[in-house]
Structures are given as C-alpha cells and as structure tokens.
Symmetry: C2
Subunit: 190 residues, 2 copies
Amino acid sequence: MELLKQKIRSEGIVLSERVLKVDAFLNHQIDPRLMQQIGQEFARRFRDAGVTKIVTLEASGIAPAVMTGLELGVPVIFARKHQSLTMTDNLLTASVYSFTKQVESTIAIAANHLSATDRVLVIDDFLANGKAAKGLLSIIVQAGATVVGLGIVIEKSFQSGRRELEETGLRIESLARIASLENGQVQFLE
Amino acid sequence: MELLKQKIRSEGIVLSERVLKVDAFLNHQIDPRLMQQIGQEFARRFRDAGVTKIVTLEASGIAPAVMTGLELGVPVIFARKHQSLTMTDNLLTASVYSFTKQVESTIAIAANHLSATDRVLVIDDFLANGKAAKGLLSIIVQAGATVVGLGIVIEKSFQSGRRELEETGLRIESLARIASLENGQVQFLE
C-alpha cells in the first residue's frame, strides 16, 4: 500500500534495528483518513472470505480494525489486556509477551461474542515475532470459530512471525512489509 | 441520539446502580456503523468550534474518537495508560483513578503531538465522576493548548462528573444521558 509506505518513510522513526516508531500516525497519534484507506484495503483483500467478525487487540489495533469492520459491515471485538469490572462473562484467554512493553500479559475475549459459526479476520497494527497474533488465534480456536486470515498494517519481515504463522496455513496480508531497519533506514520488501 | 439510546436499551446490561455494561457495542465488541454515526453526530455538534486535534484515552475512546476525527478531518491522539518502549519523547502526564478497573494509573501523551495553537476536542466513551476527563484536560492545559469541549458517548448524569466539569466553563455534549440505573432499569434524562 503505497500511501502507507510514504507515511512510514516520512513520519516513521527508526529507534533501533528492531524498533520502528510510528507514533505520529498509528500507535499514539492516529491519522483517521489513513485508517479509513487501510480499512478499505483490508476489505478489498478479504471481501470474498465470508468474514463475520473482526478480532483485534487493544489499543493500537482498534482504529484499523474498526475501519475494516465498517467497510465489511461486521462487528469488531478488541481483546483486552487489562480487565474491567464489566467483564463478568466467561473469558477465553491467552498469554502474550509484549516486546515493546516488556511484559507478559493475559489477553481476554468474552466467550459470548464469538461462536463456532464465526469466520474471523484478525487485524493488528504490527507483526514481528507473532506473539500477539498467536494469542488472538488461540482464543478464536478456543471459541471453535474459523480464522480466515490475518491483516497486518506493518510487518517486520526480518522477524520470524510471518514465517511461523504461514507454516500453519494462515493467510496473511500485510500492507507494508519491512525488510530491514539497519543503519537507521527503512527498507521495504518489494 | 436516539439510535444510541435504542442500542443501550436493547443491548446494555445494568450490573448495579452505578455500572452499565455496554460490552456488546462499545467497550469490548464494537459496532463500527454506530461508531460512524456517533462520529458524525459529534462532528455536527462541534463543527464550528475550530477543532484542530481530538484527544481520547485508550482503549474504548479510540473508536468514537477516530470516527469523529475522520468527519472533522483532524488527527486523533489517544493518551496511553501503559507505556511502551517507543514512547521516548517528553511526556505530559496525569494521574487517573479508574472506578471500573479499581486502579490508579498514569496517563500520558507525548508533548510533541500537542502545541499551544491546538484547539482540542476531548472524546470519551463514558462520563461518570469525571476523573478520566480531568486527567485529559490537565494534559492539554500542560501543553498550553485550548480545550474547546468534551464529547461523551454515554453520560451517567447521576454522578458528579458533568456538574464539576461544567463549573469550569467546559462545554459538554453527551449523546446519551442516563438519569438512573435503579431497579435494573436504564432511565434516560429527557
């Protein structure tokens, strides 16, 4: 997705060989028009997959997921990392380690929002080692639902997440694939 | 906003005289079409306020805030409750107590995303005692920016938040105002 790559080139900040900061338009400040275009692109790619629900992870996945849900006309569920008094239902959970926060957390979805007939598209902001995606997939499998694919805004293709997930047969669509962050430069995979 | 009230009546669950659960369409599962309509309604009410930025709080504020930002054509910043390796900038912070999570947390916005010329609309999912809103307002004031108003999806009008905030001269627009949750019933303020 060329517009997204341009945005990464102009506003992304390479913090290290593994960390790209996109707080200017995705992870802290959000560009709503870009999110709309991202939602339209995910919808285009997964239009024929029979998606009935979108699942994402709070907080940075919510904006692209909701825009995709709007385009596809389906509800969005965001898995919670931090539980609330109002989460009184049976919970489906998974344990996920966050590299950028350096904490292990339990992510949860209320069981009543997913059913065995659901065809679920998972959307997330980043794919690196795949830990968050694997946690979400585990929850969807626990619900007996079908995963139709994974939509990623920015993939760090030099980390192992995509390869490990593709080995399970999962369809992955990433809108920007980064080959390297070496020497402070973003190199995209062509 | 009649559509929102209908959704609260049909899918909201009264957990106690103070807690309304709207996990079916706002706080866990999200109805993207309703969020779009909420965004359009906030945009209509604040169209003439000269808004340059929207500020909200992760995670449940993000969907209505991004839809409002899309309508008004302005960026959205979500204050973070949980800090990340990529938040390396100078941070503006405030301390906020969450009643539904029963924890005190520090919320933060990177200083470089707000400037003294910004005219900020604050959007949040709930207004109860006003603690989250006051934290966000404190951060915006620290940045030297102007707060033009507060847009709330669901106001619990029987709690003190609105009154306390209005005493400071703040303009508040709430799309659904709840007078009472007594006897397991949602009573709206007319």
